[in-house]
């Protein structure tokens, strides 16, 4: 028998806001019958205070999803097969209990989220139970709570096996303030070769809206795990999160993610782990590839686990023959997680950038046959072919030919602003930076940005209202370190209380990690047959070419995770609206004899009685066909008529054009036919046009 419900209750009763327990009958894989129940508030957990809503989500982890039979749930969560539903909590300390959920499958997952509707605070959280997991010796369990914990939260993870006393139940509690990782101590697995885990995360909202909570658990598998047969089919992920992508178990590149987009705004043509290297005391494997069913040769890999849920897709591989004749293995897990935008999420210090986070991570665990085998280095490069699109419909082109511009920068600990671009802004040529993270310590660079615009706009300071403003709203942002300035406190009060990613100015890597990371930035097509350090040719041009970002993790411990800091991206702007209270005054035109361009200034005046904020765009409609706007920031793709060039005023969401105030925009026209330059104007606010 597996652990009983009572044992899980024992583990959770101290703080868990609700409890999920299970009884199940041990039987051989893959079929499992189970019964699960749980609740929030009442006798089974702490009180629910205020008004809020909570959502239950239940699904089998083994596709195709088996039918889940739903118990009587008149007013609480109506758990059905792969669905979610909300219920409103309006009183204090209600006893909301899940009904009984039964079904069959090789696994089962139940997730509960609690969100605050804005009245007071809601004690809620997440719970996850997963049963019948193939169990490696010395398993580790890593959990991520994506953007869901506002302020602080508690999490407890419990794992159980059917072994005897002393190894049957382990439990870890942790206090987390952001996306965090909790690692269980080694668990002794019994004869069944499987174990169960249960997770409870209690979230105490401080105030205001609390983002959706969810949790997923990834479990490293044993060296003897069997290859998946049949292989998972290719498919499309993302769903309700606003993200979309295609996934495929490829022949050589592991789990291959393509066509990644956020609310229709493309982020990447491809994300993958093209190869890995392993160097141990008795083995050296170079440029091994993640194959789903390889069996022969050094570091032959096989796909042993695959999971997909609304926010992530994950595949685990076991690399054997390291070396041949031993039972040692390297377990590699690719996990591509894409979280929805969370209102109020401070992806960057100003908090003024609407953003969604993504985590294309790769993890490894080295499982030696015995203690004489020691890992020396595991290299796991992430190849991220970002393709930030120009919204100009005239620039439509294939993803693999998009002109891109990039920077690799260091942020000052004194000012918080970039104080060094390692290869210019934008980077003119391909570039390789060894040890951007060096043995767990900061290297020369802290962040990478990529955009379709000809340079990467740095962060700045806004005067109205005072405070920082985000850098490069069009960019994909990768920060493996933030300036320590953002961790500063004055008299115990944080200067940036809502920015939780500073990590004290240290690299954002798993606690205790001594990993290093090399960076290579290359023009596409890049040669994936090359190792990371040989990918970039310093004399090859880069600016304006499709660009591939290689994030090459190098671990020297038995396990590690790369790219756990993730990145962020902003969704497309909402459609802007015309602002009739802005008057437009054009100057005359004059030719620049040096460039042949025709210049003009346009003055925008706010004639309304109140201040207007950005973004504010001056759109030029009906230009003669032979005339182009040389300094256009883009072309209308949302606000009809489409295809008209526009220039953004120097305003963003944090700056204002006061009543009666004016600003001037300079226009530069290309007019090779020397025709009259006439056009009508629109001033649009509230988003990119």
């Amino acid at each position: 028998m597996r652990k009983s419900c009572a044992q899980f209750l024992f583990a959770f009763q101290f703080f868990a806001p609700f409890v999920l327990c299970t009884t199940s009958t041990a039987q051989s894989l893959p079929v499992l019958t189970f019964t699960a129940s749980g609740g929030i508030g009442g006798a089974e957990g702490p009180p629910v205070v205020g008004q809020g809503a909570f959502t239950c989500y239940a699904a089998s982890t083994s596709p195709p999803a088996p039918a889940l039979l739903v118990g009587p749930l008149p007013t609480q969560c109506n758990v059905q097969n792969k669905f979610s539903q909300s219920a409103t909590v309006q009183s204090t300390n209600p006893a909301l209990t899940f009904g009984t959920v039964t079904g069959s499958g090789s696994g089962f997952k139940l997730t509960v989220t609690a969100t605050n509707s804005g009245v007071g605070g809601v004690s809620g959280g997440v719970s996850l139970y997963r049963d019948n997991i193939p169990a490696p010796a010395g398993a580790t369990i890593k959990l991520r709570f994506p953007g869901s914990v506002t302020g602080a939260g508690q999490v407890v993870v419990t794992a159980a096996s059917d072994t005897g006393p002393g190894g049957s139940l382990v439990s870890v509690g942790a206090f987390i303030t952001s996306a965090g990782t909790v690692t269980l101590p080694p668990l002794l697995i019994g004869k069944s070769g499987t174990y169960s885990i249960a997770v409870s995360a209690g979230v105490i909202a401080n105030s205001g809206p609390q983002g959706p909570a969810s949790s997923t658990a990834s479990v490293t598998l044993g060296c003897n795990a069997s290859p998946l047969d049949p292989l998972p089919a290719s498919g499309t992920g993302g769903g309700l999160t606003g993200w979309s992508y295609d996934y495929e178990i490829s022949d050589l590149r592991g789990l291959d993610i393509t066509n990644v987009a956020l609310q229709g705004r493309n982020l990447a043509a491809e994300m993958s782990v093209p190869y890995f290297n392993l160097d141990t005391s008795d083995f050296t494997g170079s440029h091994c590839t993640l194959q789903p069913s390889g069996t022969v040769g050094d570091c032959a890999t096989r796909l042993v686990d695959f999971n997909i849920d609304p926010t992530a897709v994950e595949a685990s591989y076991v690399a054997g023959n390291v070396p041949t004749g031993t039972s040692s293995c390297l377990i590699i897990t690719e996990r591509f997680e894409f979280d929805p935008p969370v209102p109020g999420d401070h992806c960057e210090p100003s908090g003024n950038l609407n953003c969604a986070r993504f985590f294309p991570t790769v993890s490894y665990t080295y499982v030696p046959q015995d203690s004489t085998e020691i890992i020396q280095e595991a290299d796991l490069p992430l190849r991220l072919f970002f393709t930030v699109p120009d919204p100009d419909p005239k620039s439509k082109t294939s993803l693999t030919s998009l002109g891109q511009f990039t920077t690799l920068a260091h942020d000052s600990d004194q000012t918080g602003f970039p104080d060094l671009d390692l290869n210019g802004d934008p980077m003119k040529t391909e570039f390789f930076e060894p040890n951007a993270i060096n043995q767990g310590k900061a290297g020369d660079s802290d962040n990478y940005h990529q955009t379709y615009l000809p340079s990467v706009e740095g962060p700045g300071v806004s005067l109205f209202p005072p405070g920082p403003k985000p850098g490069c709203p069009t960019c994909v942002h990768i920060h493996w370190r933030w300036s320590s300035l953002f961790a500063l406190q004055v008299a115990g009060v944080p200067l940036f209380p809502n920015f939780l990613d500073d990590n004290g100015g240290q690299p954002r890597i798993p606690p205790g990690s001594t990993q290093s990371v090399d960076i290579a930035v290359t023009a596409f097509p890049d040669n994936v047959e090359m190792d990371c350090s040989r990918l970039a040719t310093p004399t090859d041009p880069l600016a304006g070419k499709p660009t591939v970002f290689w994030y090459c993790g190098k671990g020297n411990q038995d396990s590690d995770t790369f790219f756990s800091h993730g990145g962020f991206y902003n969704p497309p702007s909402p459609a802007p609206a015309p602002e009739p209270g802005i008057t437009v005054a054009k100057s005359g035109l004059r030719v620049d004899h040096a460039t042949g361009q025709w210049g003009q200034t346009v003055t925008l005046t706010n004639t309304t009685a109140s201040a207007l904020t950005g973004p504010m765009a001056l759109v030029l409609d009906s230009l003669p066909s032979s005339v182009t706007l040389g300094n256009a920031d883009g072309f209308t793709s949302v606000a009809a008529p489409l295809g008209s060039p526009y220039v953004l005023a120097a305003l963003d969401e944090s700056t204002q054009l006061g009543a009666g105030q004016s600003l001037t925009i300079t226009l530069q026209f290309n007019n090779p036919s020397n025709v009259g330059i006439t056009y009508s104007t629109r001033v649009l606010t509230g988003g990119l046009p």
Binding site: S587, G588, L589, R590, D592, T601, L667, G676, T678
Partner: protein, 227 residues
């Protein structure tokens, strides 16, 4: 017939409403050879405009000139640049020039207003090198064209003149002083037109007499136009 010609001249003169007196200190370029460039760029309005450079004086040395578009005259005499905004949007007078220490002239322009989607016609002055493209001066011109002076014909009586500061080299600056229009006000022109019409009719009745009386207002009107 002669008086009808005068009325035509008068109607043209009625469009000249703006004058700007320009003085330029070119001490910082003294002895430098280059090009002095006067541009008139149409903004696409329903009617074109004419900008005239009159009273040009300098201690520099003028060289050969070239023109683009509709340009009449040559410096130091009067130069007129015109655009019609239908087939011609750009006129330019470019003259080789060895800079002395000063330049002065008066700019006089018609004032036909731009249309609702067009821009004002603009007069601009550039001090270029002998290649005709490289500016000899760095100015605060926001378009980075390095013009020294612009005059926008926005339909108002005075127009809009802007002088940009020069950051490099030192010793170069300009001033532009808008003058009250020296040309007759429209109401006066209307009255004068009526007077001429009456005079014309009267003279038609007195055929063969009074020829000397007709020369005085004609000369006066010509003077008024030039002023």
């Amino acid at each position: 017939m002669r008086r009808l010609g005068l009325l035509f001249v008068l109607s043209l003169a009625a469009g000249f409403a703006s004058t700007v007196s320009v003085t330029i200190d070119t001490t910082g370029l003294s002895g430098t050879s280059g090009d002095l460039v006067f541009d008139l760029t149409g903004g696409g309005g329903p009617s074109g405009n004419t900008a005239s450079i009159v009273g040009f004086s300098t201690d520099g040395t003028l060289g050969s000139a070239s023109t683009t578009g509709t340009v009449t005259g040559s410096l130091p005499g009067e130069v007129d640049l015109s655009v019609d905004n239908s087939s011609l949007f750009f006129s330019e007078y470019l003259t080789a020039f060895t800079y002395g220490t000063s330049i002065a002239f008066t700019l006089s322009a018609t004032e036909n207003a731009p249309g609702p989607v067009s821009s004002p016609d603009e007069f601009a002055l550039f001090l270029l090198g002998s290649d005709g493209t490289t500016s000899l001066i760095q100015t605060s011109d926001p378009t980075e064209a390095n013009s020294l002076l612009i005059f926008d014909i926005d339909g108002s009586q005075a127009g809009v003149s802007t002088v940009f500061s020069v950051s490099d080299p030192g010793g170069v600056s300009a001033t532009a002083t808008s003058g009250t229009s020296a040309v007759p006000e429209p109401s006066f022109l209307t009255l004068a037109g009526c007077a001429f019409l009456i005079m014309n009719l009267m003279s038609a009745r007195r055929v063969g007499t009074g020829g000397a009386q007709r020369t005085e207002p004609e000369a006066a009107l010509r003077r008024a136009r030039i002023r």
